[in-house]
């Protein structure tokens, strides 16, 4: 028999300090968010007006939807971006869906055909990601990269790298409609977040998806069909890209090249979101906060007259800061 026994005194103290450090860092994330908001409120003229606030929320809707998609992929495949899963194709996929929608509208198909076609396209792209990662066992980083290239290429061939304008009643409703004083886009974000919070945090599917991403062997041993969940996460991500593409088109009244550039802010929002959760895992609420944070940051800079050239640098520094702080918190 092994002769081993705990030394409870030391382990207890260590446990407490760990909990304390985690708490401090989690509150720190909220405090940093609040601090920056207060700073902007005091220095940036017009920052606190209702109009501006709603404007930021609207601007964050598209980023939020796509970041939710990335979050779901992270949940189902783990946040180790190098060895775990990632969906590099999300932004390019949204661009492709927007192109499909815009081109079909231009050809006169109408919303009833064009919207399902756009969302369907997104899901097909998501399926290819699943095929690459689950069935063919290609590293996610690589498989979704190849899919990203395909999606971006198809988008360019559809639009020939031009702006495709779209006019429809639905677009007007989405872009300018209001309900209870809140714009349609903001409603989309609210409803989308609520539905996802249920699906991810209060349904059995969400709980099992976390299990698959948290420890795939454990999930498999518990009898979960892990492949199906990972496929599902990627297809869902494609679905969200399709939905977001409709919002993109309605906001810009057109499909415009360059949606693929959103990949980095999407990654930033999804990763940043983990510091807002107790367990340092991706959550819908955390991602929502992070997307809003990024939105307010860009808005505040704009109002303060700081060059927009700083924005990406600040986002980069933020990612580095967040990751350093979380890895420090996890260790201590």
């Amino acid at each position: 028999m092994t002769a081993v026994e705990h030394a409870p005194a030391t382990s207890r103290g260590w446990f407490n300090s760990k909990v304390f450090a985690k708490l401090a860092i989690r509150l720190g994330a909220f405090a940093a968010f609040a601090g920056i908001m207060i700073y902007f409120a005091l220095t940036a003229r017009g920052f606190t007006t209702t109009y501006n606030m709603i404007n930021v929320v609207e601007q964050s809707t598209i980023l939020g939807f796509l970041a939710f998609a990335m979050t779901v992929v992270f949940i189902g495949t783990g946040t180790d971006v190098q060895k775990g899963g990632i969906d590099l194709s999300i932004a390019a996929n949204a661009g492709l869906c927007a192109a499909v929608y815009a081109v079909m509208m231009r050809e006169g198909y109408g919303n009833y055909v064009a919207i399902p076609a756009a969302i369907g396209t997104g899901m097909v792209i998501g399926f290819f990601n699943g095929l690459a990662v689950v069935t063919l066992k290609i590293m996610p980083l690589l498989g979704t990269l190849a899919v990203m290239n395909i999606a971006a290429g198809v988008e360019l061939t559809l639009t020939e790298n031009t702006v495709v304008p779209v006019q429809s009643d639905l677009m007007t409703v989405l872009a300018f409609g209001r309900f209870l004083g809140i714009s349609t886009l903001a409603w989309c974000l609210i409803i989308g977040s609520v539905l996802l919070v249920w699906a991810i945090h209060y349904s059995k599917i969400g709980l099992r998806l976390y299990a698959v991403g948290g420890h795939i062997e454990a999930a498999r041993a518990a009898g979960i069909n892990t492949g199906r969940y990972v496929y599902g996460a990627y297809i869902f991500s494609g679905f969200m890209a399709g939905v977001a593409s409709i919002l993109i088109v309605s906001r810009l009244s057109s499909s415009t090249p360059g949606t693929g550039l959103m990949l980095l802010p999407i990654l930033a929002a999804a990763l940043l979101g983990t510091v807002f959760s107790r367990r340092f895992i991706p959550t819908i609420g955390g991602t929502l906060l992070a997307a809003l944070f990024i939105g307010f940051l860009a808005n505040g800079f704009q109002l303060l007259g700081i060059s927009s050239y700083w924005v990406s640098g600040v986002q980069g520094a933020l990612i580095l800061l967040v990751v350093t702080v979380t890895s420090f918190a996890k260790k201590h």
Binding site: L136, G316, A317, V323
Partner: protein
Amino acid sequence: MTNQTDTAVRESRFSLEAASNYAVIVAFIAVVIFFTFAAPGFMSGENIFNLISNKVVLLAIVALGMTIVIGAGGIDLSVGVSIDLSSMIFIMMIAAGYMGAFAVMGGLGAAFCVGLLNAFLINKLKINPFLATLGVLFIGKSIQQLSTQGGVPIYLTRAEYAAPFDAIARTSLLGIPTPIIILVVCIIGVYLALHRSVFGRYVAALGAQADVARYSGIRVPFHMSIVFISCAVLSGITGILLSSTVRSYVPLAGDAFLLDAIGATFIGTAISAERRPSVLGTLIGVALLAVMRNGLLLIGWNFFWQQVGIGVLVFLVLGLSFGLRKRAE
């Protein structure tokens, strides 16, 4: 339940495994044969020469850097920043009237600093390479926008600036253009470093299991720094070659190399049984991508369709290689 006999099982396993290793090479040969027939002029000496000296050289040098990094278990998303900053400093110094040699050193110095920053983030702040270099990618973008009023290119097409550019891009030694000589030197250097030297063994150990390297008394942070700095400096060489060829600096131009370099390196891993990055594999990957792009252009596909075509090809090759591998296991 299978009724296969022992030997039948074994034979099919081995042939699948072998097939999975050759998938990339077979694909490359098939693509070359296809374009030889489909695209007139593809096999002409002129086309191949242009292909190598314009496209292959630039991508191959970045991909060699990426090979070292991926071999050590990391990834470098900031190669574009190294390319761009090197190119930017180089062009700015030439414009300011510095000697060509100083400008080259300035450019490489800038790339070196990017590598050093990556190494600092990874070793000291313990950020994983993907996120560390992602952060640097963002920051690099801001730096370029701030130094060029949001991305205005710098063109140095006037004759007074031509000398240093010509010295790099238009001279040749024994009939071989200088850029190709630089590439060959880089290939030999990286090959010796990765496959013949002690450093290469340490890189392999870091890539396989960094903790084992640490427990074997290997200075992990030091070697990681060398890995990321080498990659950045190699990318910096590409930046200078790029600028010398086009006599200009276009902000964010380096980003175009990132995905191809990663793609080429990973395609290259498919030729080794252990799926490890290697110099030979990466060169095959680079050649495959370059030939595809060139061939599709020659048969009249526009840039957009080329991108689709390459994406599909990469997907198929990877799928074949990884899929067969999985079946074999």
